[in-house]
Assembly symmetry: C2
């Protein structure tokens, strides 16, 4: 956690001092969370993970949080580090991130999809709102059970992989790297420059990249509700996106069309996180970026859940009623994707991406 | 058509003169359109109506237009007519309306649903936008053919009924009533009062009824996009709606839940039309009412199309792939329902329901 407010880089501090202080804190978080995450993973029955023993609790989430921040800082402020070391460290952190993020993601996806089925079929606990458009539908319990079964299986597999890798030499080597980071990040000459001169241009580059990626989004459409962008017009309004209709003239299959439609949004999500962490390094508040970050997390989760619903509908020998419910759930999750884009499109233009006291331009916003 | 601008009731005109002038014009439209509609119906091959011979063309649409306006005027300004005659006339006009409206409605529904499948599967002509979330899905052509077949059958049946009734004694009697209306509406004593004194309170009552019906809608939710109101929370936010969960504690089935959720909106649609026609009688512009009228027509069409998709999904022996596509289409049409509610919720508060020059308050708006 980096909730403790960081002070802005003092006029006298060097870039190396500022970035070292940040990495020391994050590496400390990493090293504290690691044994906790290992213990949690070992304590969870891998074969039958239930929603009551959340995979993403305590140590694992803390570890993910530190991994993201260290990786982000090494990327954004890469110029002050020994290049080979930074490159290798980022690769190893990315490996751990992908490894650890899966199980909590499957759990969120499971919670999201089962809640969607419950809400659509009017069986939501608490009884908020009335019944849904699938109220009393005979396919709803079957579709729910199918999704639950498939996601439990996926989560169990992810858990086994985590269990295996958490005892690997690769993880031990990464932990050694993090130990080195505490107080002793391998810096280069430019790190001796004043923090206020060296860091802002590098943070600014992160915002420039973010602005450019957002410019490639079909924001002018996303800002108007109910355009059907995530259901009907995949990639249609995106100026820089890849062509979605193959040369043969056949329409692309839905899976690749959806993936290509979501990709630029997923990329913006990563760039928003990097920009957030860059602000953290420089001791600047990033509350508003955190808000759009959450919106884009929701976008990613809904897009992933939609894929799961579509995949489940291809399970052999399911009943038409089950398939019908999965079709409704798939469309519902794509609607959530569209809603997240709308929320992003509404918030983005008002983001003050130039916090006070920032030395350089924090980013040429052209969204 | 009543496109010719009607002059506002002159200060000297009686209520009877104003309303008679309106009814004379509309009854004339009725009598001109009737033989045309009969001819069209007879000329269309009832067994194989195609989208190229629109059921709602020319005469039929003109006839529907006149029927709606005469019925509306008889309802709103009922106090100036001989009550028994007005009551009977309205019942017969309603009969003809229900009879004639079906075939064009099936045709619109067919066009809407096939366009939705085409757009979702990325096969839309013209290629606007990219592929949809069902691009290349093997169930799409099957679902399309199923919807086409079922709606063609329904349309054919409606057409046969129209053909049969258009030669009935009942229709001849109604035509006689309309002939009477040309210049000789059976008025009562109060029709001799000044138009500016008699008509506005009655038109005002139409607006009061509209305002009260709109107040019962969950507009505070509909005004925010992506609340899932037409998919997840049927009737949940409606203060005066009927209870949707039966006493046994079982959730209501989806069909009745959806119907109950849509009913107050359908009612508002009828009241908007009545208010529009009341303005026409008084020679006032009703452009903005026409706009929300169109939005509510879209709401009705999408709700009806959603029912058709859900019904088609219950066809025995369809493949899971077909059922899945119908689930997506069903959700997509409910999304259209929600979008129409959002459009209504955005426009309603800005409607100037007090046009200039109106004598009395045209309606206590409490929406």
């Amino acid at each position: 956690m980096t909730d403790a407010p960081m002070t802005a880089p003092a006029a006298t501090a060097t870039a190396g001092e500022v970035i070292s202080r940040y990495l020391t804190e994050q590496a400390g978080n990493f090293l504290r969370a690691l044994p906790q995450a290992v213990g949690e993973a070992g304590a969870r029955p891998g074969a039958l993970p239930s929603l009551n023993s959340p995979a993403g609790s305590g140590g694992t989430l803390e570890l993910l949080r530190a991994v993201r921040r260290i990786g982000g800082a090494l990327h954004t402020f890469g110029a002050v580090f020994e290049p080979g070391w930074a490159h290798e460290s980022r690769a190893e952190l990315r490996w751990l991130l992908n490894l650890l993020a899966q199980e909590p993601a499957y759990q969120r996806r499971s919670a999201r999809l089962l809640a969607a089925v419950d809400s659509l079929s009017g069986a939501a606990p608490g009884g908020a709102g009335g019944p849904g458009m699938l109220a009393g539908h005979q396919g709803a319990p079957k579709a729910r059970a199918l999704l639950d079964r498939q996601l439990t299986l996926a989560r169990t597999r992810a858990h086994s992989t985590v269990l295996q890798e958490l005892r690997s030499a690769r993880l031990h080597a990464l932990a050694d790297r993090m130990t080195l980071l505490v107080g002793e990040a391998p810096l280069v000459e430019s790190a001796r420059g004043k923090a206020g001169e060296v860091l802002p241009p590098q943070a600014g580059a992160a915002f420039t990249a973010l602005g450019a990626a957002v410019r490639a989004l079909p924001l002018h459409r996303a800002a108007t509700a109910y355009q059907g962008d995530a259901l009907h017009r995949l990639g249609g309004a995106e100026p820089t996106g890849p062509a979605l209709v193959p040369a043969q003239g056949r329409p692309a299959d839905a899976d690749s069309a959806l993936a290509a439609d979501d990709a630029p949004w997923h990329r913006v999500r990563i760039l928003v996180k990097r920009a957030r962490y860059a602000l953290e390094v420089c001791g600047r508040p990033g509350d508003q970026l955190m808000e759009v970050d959450r919106v884009l997390d929701r976008h990613q989760d809904a897009a992933d859940a939609a894929v799961t619903a579509a995949t489940a509908a291809r399970t052999p020998r399911i009943t038409p009623a089950t398939a019908y419910v999965l079709g409704v759930v798939h469309a519902d999750q794509r609607l959530e994707v569209e809603a997240a884009r709308f929320a992003f499109g509404s918030r983005w233009p008002e983001l003050p991406l130039s916090p006070d006291g920032w030395d350089g331009p924090p980013g040429q916003r052209m969204g």
